[in-house]
């Protein structure tokens, strides 16, 4: 009986640890880092919420007023318990410090800029579309005006190598979001911001504008296509020529 319970618990824990709890797995190195942090946070959240819900449920059931009891009967009139109060302040502090540290380490990694990226894309958002320029390869890709059902322009990235994205906006604030990469960054007019994407999966991924930018915000989409580095070279030669 006891052993069965342990096995079930272990099975639950291992499956929980391998599950992503609804988060995309992360198609880039940065995205996977973020997803690992998510797993830590979800497990902590489940633990904390589990304890708190259990305490609430226990109090409600154990200390409910029963049928036929004197309606004016009082509960035990205690006001405080200082050691307990210290504990329930200190334990959250410890949890929060741990989570903050984990988050800080992950943030350092995912926002780090590689000193020597494989290639660079200058992405410019405008109402309502995207322009992707590869200055080294001399390629420019501009979306046609966005419309429902249009996949939008295609951003091509080499697999396994860091690509620097230099993000700008031409008019209002937009945001570059590839849900499968677990990452977004705002495109703010008058400012330039950069980040690296290091794809770990081949394929096509949906990209959207995540900051409301007016009438056609919802259809301001683009596609990211991740290809082998050799294929990227070939594509770049063709697109430039």
């Amino acid at each position: 009986m006891r052993r069965a319970a342990v096995v079930v618990a272990l099975a639950l824990v291992t499956s929980a640890c391998s599950s992503t709890f609804g988060f995309p797995e992360g198609g880039t190195q940065q995205g996977r880092d973020i997803r690992e942090l998510w797993t830590v946070f979800v497990l902590a959240a489940i633990a904390v919420a589990g304890v708190v819900y259990a305490l609430i449920a226990w109090s409600l059931l154990r200390y409910r007023r029963r049928r036929g009891e004197d309606p004016d009967a009082l509960g035990r009139q205690f006001h405080a318990n200082v050691p307990l109060e210290v504990a329930y302040t200190a334990i959250p502090v410890a949890i929060v410090v741990a989570l903050f540290s984990a988050s800080l380490l992950t943030e350092r990694r995912v926002t780090a800029l590689d000193p020597d990226p494989a290639t660079t894309v200058e992405a410019t958002a405008f109402a309502w579309g995207w322009r992707f320029v590869y200055p080294e390869e001399q390629i420019e890709i501009v979306s046609p005006p966005s419309r429902p059902g249009e996949p939008g322009p295609e951003l091509v990235l080499p697999l396994g190598e860091p690509t620097r994205v230099v993000l700008r906006s031409q008019d209002v604030i937009h945001a570059f979001w590839v849900p499968a990469f677990n990452f977004k960054r705002d495109a703010i007019p008058g400012r330039t911001t950069s980040f690296d994407l290091t794809p770990t999966h081949l394929g096509r991924f949906r990209g959207v504008c995540a900051e409301f930018c007016g009438l056609n915000h919802a259809v301001m989409t683009f596609t990211v296509r991740v290809v082998e580095p050799e294929a990227f070279e070939a594509w770049a030669r063709e697109a430039a020529g």
Binding site: G22, P24, L37, W38, A44, A45, A49, V52, Y53, L55, I56, S59, Y63, R65, E69, P71, D72, L74, G75, R76, Q77, H79, A80, N81, L84, E85, Y88, T89, P92, V93, V96, L99, A102, S103, L104, E107, V110, D171, V172, I173, A175, W177, P179, N182, F183, K184, R185, D186, I188, P189, G190, T193, F195, R206, A210, F212, G214, L215, H217, A218
Partner: protein, 531 residues
């Protein structure tokens, strides 16, 4: 003597009537905002369909958000503060009754302007989202008068809450009953104090932001438009310096509400009163220092600083949960009473809002979650699942005091269960679609990428929730005229308002009991237990 009828209500300076006016107006805005939410959910029920035009959809969520935040939840809190604070501290009225009336009318006119900003502007309604980021809200991209009216309306609401703030602080600091030291203030009043302090600190920068935005729009300024040398990030700093404290302005009064409700229905004193008060004060201070967690994805702010501050604020919030649990522990809980059911629902929902808030406090997670439906769901778990459930707890708890009549307990239970189920059906699926990559503020989404089913469930949840709310409105209307009459103290309350008649007389009290703890009404009923 106060005048009767409509004139009496229009000219009243009685804090109780003003409080009721606030609550009624705010609840009306809740119904308006809820109807708009219904339209939003109808549009999103399935992909490809068009219930409203795209431009209209953008106006819908803008006005829904604005109404719910600035015209429903905060003013309902202000109404409770108006009604309860003088009663709880044993004062005859607010310190400045005429100013108080002026605050109410300022808020009401602000609300009117906000409604006009979308409904009376023929195609140029405000459609820039409730935080009105420039340049989108600037003259080049939102030329019509809609945004101007919106700015005017919000500015009026801001002024109203500054006036209320001064009034409430003066009242609490100078008009407490003899013996009611600050450390015997009822917990609702403590939360009210911190709420208005936050308003006083946070509204001025926002008013400045709105004024600059208005100058940009109308007088050719360019404070926020990079085309003229301005910086949109500065607007975001000014706005969120209000915007984040605002969420605590929204929730603190309802922390206060359930902290009054839980002890009464557990037949116990609040567990750890001093710790609870200190936690409230800490939340007040910390909430001023977290604003840029709304800007993690800009890449233009000090993420670790704001992330650290935001994590820290989870601690005092967590402490409150243990105060509430400690209060129920060892009690004799009457949890079938409607106010208590709403308070319990508050606890269950708000906890989810809290743990998802911790996730959003981690910048790397925010890179995925920000501006997705996950975020939408998170803040509805706090503001709807917490705040709005707190509103209902307050209504069921104080309705007898305000009107002298009881609401139906049976119907109340049904409303609580219906709202709880409907609420969770509506918003849990939004976590799922958010994680899968559905951005907020979109009128449509492509089929077949995992968004369809959760969106449909979410819309069905709204149907359940709406039925529960309509049931409440019906019961309210009926009980107002025919409900059984309420005694002075129908629940066995703790604070001073339960020692006067229901409803209280013009200047509240004919005699006051001696005040020896933060539960004077309880002490009066149980003199044998006074320490």
């Amino acid at each position: 003597m106060s005048a009767r009828g409509a004139v009496g209500w229009l000219t009243t300076t009685d804090h109780k009537r003003i409080g009721i006016l606030y609550c009624l107006t705010a609840f009306g805005f809740f119904l308006v905002g809820g109807a708009l939410a219904g339209l939003i959910r109808a549009e999103l029920a399935s992909p490809g369909q068009q219930v409203v035009a795209i431009g209209t959809y953008n106006e819908l969520f803008t006005i829904h958000g604005t109404v719910m935040i600035f015209l429903f939840l905060a003013p309902f809190g202000a109404g409770l503060i108006n009604y309860l604070v003088p009663l709880q501290i044993g004062a005859p009225d607010m310190a400045f009754p005429r100013l108080n009336a002026a605050s109410y009318w300022t808020y009401a006119s602000g609300g009117l302007l906000v409604l006009l900003s979308s409904f009376a502007t023929a195609g140029t309604g405000a459609a820039m989202g409730w935080y009105a980021y420039p340049p989108l809200s600037g003259p080049r991209f939102s030329p019509g008068v809609g945004v101007d009216l919106w700015i005017g309306g919000i500015a009026l609401v801001a002024i109203s809450s500054l006036l209320t703030g001064v009034n409430v602080l003066t009242t609490v600091f100078l008009m407490r009953a003899p013996g009611m030291t600050m450390w015997r203030l009822p917990v609702f009043t403590w939360n009210a104090v911190v709420t208005v302090v936050l308003g006083l600190l946070a509204f001025p920068p926002a008013v400045a932001a709105f004024a600059l935005l208005f100058l940009d729009r109308r007088l050719g300024g360019s404070a926020f438009d990079p085309a003229g040398g301005g910086d949109p990030i500065v607007y975001q700093h000014l706005f969120w310096f209000l915007g984040h404290p605002e969420v605590y302005i929204l929730i603190l009064p309802f922390f206060g509400v359930i902290t009054e409700v839980i002890p009464v229905f557990s037949r116990k004193p609040l567990f750890g009163y001093p710790g609870f008060v200190l936690a409230t004060l800490a939340i007040g201070a910390l909430s001023i220092g977290v604003w840029a967690h709304h800007m993690f994805t800009t890449g233009a702010v000090d993420n670790p600083f704001f992330s650290a501050m935001t994590f820290t604020i989870a601690v005092p919030t967590g402490v409150k949960f243990f105060n509430w649990i400690g209060t129920m522990w060892g009690g004799r809980i009457r949890w079938s009473a409607a106010p208590m059911m709403f308070a319990i629902a508050f606890l269950l929902n708000f906890l989810i809002g809290g743990v998802t808030g911790i996730m959003l406090a981690a910048p790397p997670l925010d890179y995925h979650l920000n501006d997705s439906y996950f975020l939408v769901s998170h803040f509805h778990y706090t503001m709807m699942g917490g705040g709005a459930f707190g509103v209902f707890a307050a209504i069921y708890f104080w309705f007898p005091k305000m009107t002298g009549r009881m609401l139906s307990e049976r119907v109340g239970r049904l409303v609580a269960v219906g709202m709880f189920v409907g609420f969770n059906l509506t918003f849990w699926p939004q976590f799922v679609v958010g994680l899968r990559g559905m951005p907020r503020r979109v009128p449509d989404y492509p089929p077949g990428i995992g968004f369809d089913a959760p969106n449909l469930v979410s819309t069905l949840g709204v149907v359940v929730m709406s039925l529960a709310v309509l049931l409440f409105v019906w019961d309210w209307w009926r009980s107002l005229r025919r409900g059984p009459s309420a005694s002075d103290d129908p629940w066995g309350g703790d604070s001073l308002e339960w020692t006067t008649s229901s409803p209280p007389p013009e200047h509240n009290f004919s005699t006051l009991p001696a005040i020896r703890s933060h539960r004077p009404a309880f002490d009066q009923r149980h003199p044998e237990l006074v320490r």
